[in-house]
Symmetry: C2
Subunit: 597 residues, 2 copies
């Protein structure tokens, strides 16, 4: 295959093999059927299907967004065709158990595989992405009957799934959802309410849709403690697995978005009496796990979803970077400062230093983000398959700590890479004849959904760094210190020293903030904290990558080293201003009364 | 009128009167007919027309972009209607001489007036914006006959104008344009070539279009020294001013953009033989001024255009901010950290500190940008009407120095305000049901056209700070020092001290960079220099605004002070990292070979 503009297989191979050594996972019992060859084969397959079936209709789907006809969401036919190829290849079950028809791939490889589809066409790939998260939640918390009934068809690609949390009046504030689930004598529930922003909430791609719905059972505790989780299928399922009656879940509207248009984003009405399954009112729902524990279950899925969203944000930035790189190599314009003779030929714009600045910055963001996403995926593998309980617990703790960063950092900097990709293209990048403006628009969703940047910052500073007496933060510090120790005596010692200093300062800042005894003050500038922490983590992963290049002299490795130098010299120092602000316990924002704005 | 979401009249009044004291201009002979009352009246008129005729079709124009039918660009009818109201009100000639039907308003007021239209509907307002720049250039460099023939109809709103610089193979690199202009025996020229990215290049809004076209006369010097400027009207003009033959300027295509869709953006073919005026080949053109001086003339217009683009970028950010503020005051969601009881009512999201952070940041960007734009407009008034030659020269020099910043800073930070406005809206901001995503898309053009950010950075560091032995930089430093001196002993003394330090460091950094003797090295990180310089300038203008609030205790003034504090504590320190990088003469980007990317 020619060098792809979707993703860099060379970089994935570097990250998976030269750095994360995923082949070593094949020694673990879960992955003994696998080898470098099987990993390569599935990555080849992903690239091929993404290239042949996903990328070609990315712009078409943007220009022809889903619309409602007779209460149904109508999509361009390319979406269905692409997803059939995807599911026929078994990719939807890639990292699931063989028992459920899966390939039992390591998550690390699974993330790399799925990254091709997100980068090629984020709108189309959202349907299986949501389904995989849905299935994973049910495998963890559903009954065997629920798994057999709903998960199997999902992993066969016959049904797709959603997660239905938000409501029109309650976006980030799940405490305020009002969808009600009333218990019935037969153990089922009847749901009534409205859900907003439900991606994949309706379509004709599959014969059934499995909604996972948050709702409150009357009489339960107030707020988030009274939230339960229900399976609400679009069509009820007969005992033999065939489809039964239409459930009372109705498409009430489609949201029209800036980007990400290929994915239906819906307002769904539950139990409004359009259908009356069994002749009675309310949408039929099946409780998952125990009552009132719905949010805990959902966050199990949300955390994986957040890492997945982070990878999505990274790869949209990544494909933008690759397109900009290709453009900058081929588009000629102007001459360097030292050679202004108009009789001399124009040079490719990559020869202009400021264009290389943009490309190098974008490279550092997207390859840094990819390292972050795959590192987190590796932690998922560790938490599930590491040999000792201690290793599994450590992986779990570190992953918990990194999750808000893995979601938020790429959402900010992958998007920044998309912005740079437009800028590299100049006027052409602003036209719809080139794909980079769509990548930007598609990616602009990522800082919003699955918890906004602000929500992630509160999660990091308000929960993750203080959980277990600060154990997560300490573990992150130890993990980074192990890397910087390896840099001693190398050309990267200066980078390591700067990183050590930044980590130490982060610890001190954290203590200062929480030492105030005032949560409002400690959390007032949480977004600044998130940004600083994110840059430290990605700087660490760039140091990791630089060290993994030891002794390798190819252009590829020199590019890695140059991006690592860039991140060290240009990006890591950004944390100083942020920490200075945090150390000062700046009250500017906190003390701004809303009426003076 | 209710409080507008287009712009803040209160802020404009503050900037124009409490700060810039534009009323004092009425003592000058050019403005004796004016008074606070006439300024107020025209601002009232602008707000009313912008509100009633421009804003209502902003989304409609975005959704129904111009398309070609039978070689003509077809626009929605609202554009023509709005522009008729605008030109009938005499606003196109607002700051032009009474001799040409103008109101002879100060430029400062004229910028504030026109800001309403850009903020309400940047696509529609581009047509008169381009026409005003075109007319101003011809008034400065055209012959009296050219002025009578072309400028008068423009200022009556009967004809519109364009500026046609770029070509498909030559965007930023004007040295490489290939459009040819061959002299004819009658003193006219015949032009052949293709021009790309020509905004307003074709439409049916006016009966004629006056193109100002850069082209090369065969046998002239190579590169930019051989560029001449021509008037090429769409229709030739008879001696009595009536329209004659169709000239050979043909709409070859429309560009389809990410935003700014209401403005036709065209590929124009000149002299391809579609029409043959006078039975001969080539588009008829009239030389403006002297041969080979075209770029100098064009830059006269470009500099004003750049300030205007900066104001446009600011006000798109500004209207986004106002919409976000309104949304944040009315949308309820969640509870503050100290009051998580789900039984308590939800609060307006403006009560969440992180939402106020976004609003305060956006406020500091857009009000800072507006101060910058109006300050530059005030310098135009000074350079044209100040009493002494010395004052006029100083104003000219300072304006020259500030122009790249006035263009680039709002293009970056006005856009950042638009990004924040989307984020404040959450999922709703990502939908096309709310206007903030369009404001973002519209504004994304501004860092590209009229000289990209990279081009501005080379202009600032490569030309402006070194011109006249560094006189421009010195004058900027003196001007800022005069402000900081006024802050002595006030609560703003700390801000002033930080600003003085930053200015001193900028001087030292500039000397370090040019002390290398290597232009490639000095200019390698010019974009970083531009960003630092921009933040210093805007910090200075925030200090100016804070000082102008002295003794005023209203919510409005407290908001100004709070935004000034924000810019001081949160934004100004960003320059330290940038200067550190520049001082180190960092070669990371310069030394990155293109083949390792």
């Amino acid at each position: 295959m020619a060098t792809s503009l979707i993703l860099s297989r060379r970089d994935l191979d570097f990250l998976l093999h030269e750095w994360l050594d995923v082949e070593s996972l094949t020694k673990r019992s879960r992955f003994t059927e696998h080898s470098r060859e099987t990993f390569d084969a599935v990555l080849d397959l992903a690239e091929q299907i993404a290239t042949d079936h996903f990328a070609p209709h990315n712009r078409t789907a943007d220009e022809n967004e889903p619309h409602m006809v007779d209460g149904k969401a109508v999509l361009i036919p390319e979406v269905s065709k692409a997803l059939k190829v995807f599911t026929d290849a078994g990719l939807i079950a890639g990292s699931f158990d063989e028992e459920y028809g899966g390939m039992q791939l390591p998550h690390t490889v699974g993330q790399a595989v799925f990254a091709w589809f997100k980068a090629a066409n984020v709108g189309t790939s959202a349907y299986p992405f949501l389904t995989m998260g849905n299935a994973r939640l049910l495998l963890a918390h559903g009954s065997q009957e629920q798994i057999d009934t709903f998960v199997r068809p999902e992993l066969e690609g016959r049904w797709f799934g959603t997660m239905a949390l938000s409501e029109p009046q309650a976006g980030s504030s799940l405490a305020d959802i009002t969808t009600r689930a009333v218990p019935q004598d037969d153990g089922t529930y009847r749901l009534t309410g409205n859900k907003m922003w439900i991606s994949g909430g309706d379509h004709e791609l599959t014969e059934n849709i499995v909604h996972l719905v948050l709702a409150k059972i009357p009489g339960g505790p107030p707020g988030v403690k009274g939230i339960s989780l229900f399976i609400v299928p679009k069509f009820l399922v007969n005992d033999d697995g065939s489809l039964g009656e239409r459930n009372d879940v109705v498409l009430a509207g489609l949201n029209h978005k800036m980007g990400y248009r290929g994915t239906t984003n819906t307002l769904l009405n539950f139990g409004e009496g359009v259908h009356t399954p069994g002749g009675r009112a309310g949408a039929v729902g099946y409780l998952v796990g125990e009552q009132h524990r719905g949010l805990t279950y959902m966050f199990h899925m949300m955390n994986e979803a957040r890492i997945g969203v982070g990878v999505g944000a990274t790869v949209l930035g990544y494909t933008g970077y690759l397109h900009a790189l290709e453009y900058a190599r081929t588009r000629t314009q102007g001459r360097p400062p030292a050679g202004k003779d108009p009789a001399s030929p124009m040079v490719p714009i990559i020869e202009h230093t400021d264009v290389r600045r943009m490309l190098l910055a974008a490279k550092s963001y997207v390859e840094g983000g990819m390292a972050l996403g795959l590192y987190c995926a590796r932690l998922v593998d560790e938490e599930q398959t590491a040999e000792t309980q201690e290793e599994r617990s450590r992986a779990h703790l570190l992953l918990d700590m990194l999750t808000p960063i893995a979601k938020a950092w790429p959402s900010q900097w992958g998007l920044a890479a998309n912005d740079l990709a437009i800028q590299v293209h100049g006027g052409y990048g602003y036209t719809r004849d080139y794909p980079v403006e769509q990548f930007y628009r598609d990616n602009r969703l990522n800082p919003i959904h699955e918890g906004t940047q602000g929500v992630q910052s509160l999660d990091l500073l308000g929960r993750k760094v203080v959980m277990q007496g600060g154990a997560g933060l300490a573990l992150l510090g130890e993990t980074i210190a192990a890397t910087t120790a390896r840099a001693a005596g190398s050309e990267w010692a200066g980078f390591a020293a700067d990183l050590d200093a930044a980590v130490a300062r982060m610890g001190a800042v954290t203590a200062t903030l929480w030492g105030t005894g005032e949560p409002d003050l400690a959390l007032a500038n949480s977004h600044v904290y998130l940004e600083a922490a994110g840059h430290i983590v990605v700087a660490w992963l760039w140091l990791e990558q630089a060290l993994a290049c030891e002794g390798a002299a190819s252009d590829f490795h020199e590019g890695k080293r140059q991006a690592a130098r860039y991140f060290w010299r240009w990006e890591l120092p950004r944390v100083n201003h942020r920490f200075g602000l945090l150390e000062s316990l700046d009250r500017t924002v906190l003390d701004t009364p809303s009426h003076v704005l």
